[in-house]
Assembly symmetry: D2
Homo-oligomer: 317 residues x 4
Amino acid sequence: MPGVPPTRFVYLGPEGTFAEQALRTLPGAQRGERTPVATIPEALDAVRGSDADAAMVPVESSVGGAVGVTLDELAEGDPLIITREVVLPISFTLAVRPGVDLQAVAAVAAHPQASTQCRRWLREHVPTATVVEALSNAAAAQAVADGRYDAALCTPASASRHRLVALAEQIADRPDAVTRFVLVGRPAAPLPATGDDVTSLAIYQAQDRPGGLLAVLNELASRGINLTRIESRPSGEGLGRYVFFIDCAGHVDQPRLGEALQGLRRGVFDVRFLGSYPRYRQPGAEPPRVFLPAGTSDADFADAAAWLDRVRAGRQY
Amino acid sequence: MPGVPPTRFVYLGPEGTFAEQALRTLPGAQRGERTPVATIPEALDAVRGSDADAAMVPVESSVGGAVGVTLDELAEGDPLIITREVVLPISFTLAVRPGVDLQAVAAVAAHPQASTQCRRWLREHVPTATVVEALSNAAAAQAVADGRYDAALCTPASASRHRLVALAEQIADRPDAVTRFVLVGRPAAPLPATGDDVTSLAIYQAQDRPGGLLAVLNELASRGINLTRIESRPSGEGLGRYVFFIDCAGHVDQPRLGEALQGLRRGVFDVRFLGSYPRYRQPGAEPPRVFLPAGTSDADFADAAAWLDRVRAGRQY
Amino acid sequence: MPGVPPTRFVYLGPEGTFAEQALRTLPGAQRGERTPVATIPEALDAVRGSDADAAMVPVESSVGGAVGVTLDELAEGDPLIITREVVLPISFTLAVRPGVDLQAVAAVAAHPQASTQCRRWLREHVPTATVVEALSNAAAAQAVADGRYDAALCTPASASRHRLVALAEQIADRPDAVTRFVLVGRPAAPLPATGDDVTSLAIYQAQDRPGGLLAVLNELASRGINLTRIESRPSGEGLGRYVFFIDCAGHVDQPRLGEALQGLRRGVFDVRFLGSYPRYRQPGAEPPRVFLPAGTSDADFADAAAWLDRVRAGRQY
Amino acid sequence: MPGVPPTRFVYLGPEGTFAEQALRTLPGAQRGERTPVATIPEALDAVRGSDADAAMVPVESSVGGAVGVTLDELAEGDPLIITREVVLPISFTLAVRPGVDLQAVAAVAAHPQASTQCRRWLREHVPTATVVEALSNAAAAQAVADGRYDAALCTPASASRHRLVALAEQIADRPDAVTRFVLVGRPAAPLPATGDDVTSLAIYQAQDRPGGLLAVLNELASRGINLTRIESRPSGEGLGRYVFFIDCAGHVDQPRLGEALQGLRRGVFDVRFLGSYPRYRQPGAEPPRVFLPAGTSDADFADAAAWLDRVRAGRQY
């Protein structure tokens, strides 16, 4: 049975980060207690140590750069599971003190990843401005509020918190840039399948074994399971072992995923289940059409199991 | 539950065939009633119609040529299952009337498949003899007993039945030539697994689908199941469909074969279970070492199933 | 370069067999010399020993039963290659002496494979008649011409050769029953590709290696090559080795087949090329639509080779 | 032919970064001109625009977080190729002004990724110290030199540049943490194969196609090519397309890699070659044993090509 809903949340801070924004999209989190922490390991340790019920951390990001740490933390130490994902479009506001206009912007404060994301925009709109590095979006906004620089590239939340106004909004060189966050809790039975779920796995394999990953993907593909993300990382144990992080479509309670997971468990060095959770859907988005190859629906699995029972009992046909 | 042991047997006749010899190797058949029939379809129809409990027919043969008929009969019509296999080395006796020696042999009566199997031997030992075709081993022996020809290439049983003596025994150009026979009955739960069993399947597939058979073999190989025989035949329905006859190592009651069978059932046009039965072992032969790839033992399957239960219940680790 | 067209043919006799009928469908054979031989090994030895240029023998048959011998002979000894295939529908004529009608038929002479093919027909049309075994279609016709039996199940050619008349024609329980014959010659460059060709291979593999055949089929499927027939046989060497006979769509001169053959050569114990030849087309039949998976046309192969050259030269894009 | 050796280098700055340290390990770079730039896109644009000959940027990092940007930049825009890799162990120095000891350290300046890497060490050795974020290793050292904080976690180069001394060296919670850097240039023929090379590829695929990646890995595994890294990223074009970044063992000039690349070119939406270059070897390290599956050596490829030529010419055996 799924555990008690979490009420104490931590997130990768400081306040005003995209992680906080991601957390606020969850109805449960709006009622709960939300505490920023300085690093991803601290966030996950708070959950492991029961100082928090769940942590919102980035896991895949065009601008966050924190992916590796999150994955490593999930793959090692006491087990944790992902219970939710939130995918945020990443864009920035150019925030100034009231009354400042674009012509007056000579110095822009920005976290390096914000300036990287907006490089082309800055070149076109404030070609002569200097970009000054800030430690975070919040720090950039603070520095502008303090009058040290003319403008900040930051989140809307940071801008409003420091009473800045927006000269431009939704700035992003790549309009489809997103960061994916996950809500992580202590092990519990996953939420029921919704029909459009993601299952995350960490799979450990011996290195230098041509075809090892092929066998893994075969376990999935032969049951019609679609891979939505894969990333290999050297295992922290430094023993010539790799860990693959895999996201695939489906829920651990579905027979096709259950059979594939058993196949993985048998065939690889180790596999760690990291959670089955609803795929994030943009507000107002249509439910996706889910495509299942022939012979891999739940009904197909039930039919095959019943047929095998008949065959074993000698009641074929 | 396995059915009642058969007591009324038919076999591909006439008396003295290798099929009769195969049937006699089964302890149960020595006590039962044994009736020769003229053709394989008649043998199987006798079982289908309950005129017999089981039929011994050749299924794979270097000399029998009857394989196709047996396979087609098993693949179509009311289902039947294989409950035993017998593998006989195929060699012949050169039988003469008492007192005749090799120099006196000018005409040899033989079924064409017997003379084909012994062609090199005949060329070396009776190079000037004429080979005369006979309809069966028994007919060849009869013709020699009648004085029409000097020698018969036949089975030892046919020779002794017609009071002939052997000038040479175990004649075979290919010393490892064998014929494989199967005992076929009406559907019933298979005999319990012995640890070295064969499972036979007929698998129907749409034609002209590159990779279709690949997917079938993948279902087997990914569970460590070894294929011991495969043969494709055009399906009798003439609808651009193929049927593959597959023998593989293992028993339908084993989890790895059960899972593979379910995968086949889901993935192909149709699959017909043709039986799980003990692999034939030559009298006095050592039990073979059974090789299972890592992760495919019964224990591995049990471990994986238990792990999946824990994961689903949120009790990982 | 393809060799000189053959002019001296042998075929599996006696006269009047389907093999002779198959040979006569070839324009070249109508002008050449055609000699029946008693067995398939004799036919192939005549070619090997240059006593004939080509031999027409059955290779896959619902009624012939000779497949195994042909395959074994092709797989062993001096190499031979298949240069043509002919697929004949297999049906029989019920032949009688002029003036005999169906009611008068009390004894039917037939080769066992002919009576097997026509069992249902005989049961319906001459339910009280006895079936007497004959050594060949020709022998059955001869026996009826001699007045020993009332009717023969035989080929139209055998009937007319013995001046019999047909009471019924094209008798066949399975209307789509066919026998496939191949014309076999000494090694030479194959005929040019026609766009609808077959390539035959004998592939040797170590036994008890799960997934070995899977790797073979993968070499074919990954290049979009369709398998049209497969049969495993224990290798004559009796050394725990299997040989697979495979027919696949395509011609050795095509790049996709060339690449697949090289992959097989590298990956298996041994592979023997048995010929590339035009797929048989029934007279008047439409050319089939040839389906090639995306990325496997000759043009795709040429594009990929040119791209690789550019990449290696540093002229990418 | 490989191009002219580069003499004008850029690297991800500022001075004192691991990227600079990586660049200095290359003999050619020690003689050339080395310029720091602020961001990875700037570094690569400098090469594309011929303002520099080569750029040293991080591509895979436990602490750098810049991977995504580098990959995206390589996958899009004008092509660039990787010509070298450098793998640096990542550890830090705790640097102080001369005379300060561990007991006196109350505030530590550190880039967040440095403090993340050394979290456990800090907790054990300076449990009461406050960690203050800095924008870079160099900025942390500068702040300590300025007397604003007591200690900096930084690189040895940054410490010595600011005349600080080390209280502790090679600090790293994960002793095997590394960052991998690549030297990127304009397209040119790759350096000759050394026998232990890496080839990097960007492979574009349609999304939601179960088994698509499986087919890609199959092209590699069937030629014995070992995958050393894989990462999927949503394609920047936002069109339901994925891009996979793959590193594999081998060199584009080797036949097995050439054949695999052609297979990928034919089978996927698009493939971009990102370079073949020597695998980085730690100074003093033994050359690795290179393991090739049976049938995939250069000699095996040569043998198979020669055999195919013989078969096509009719000179089999």
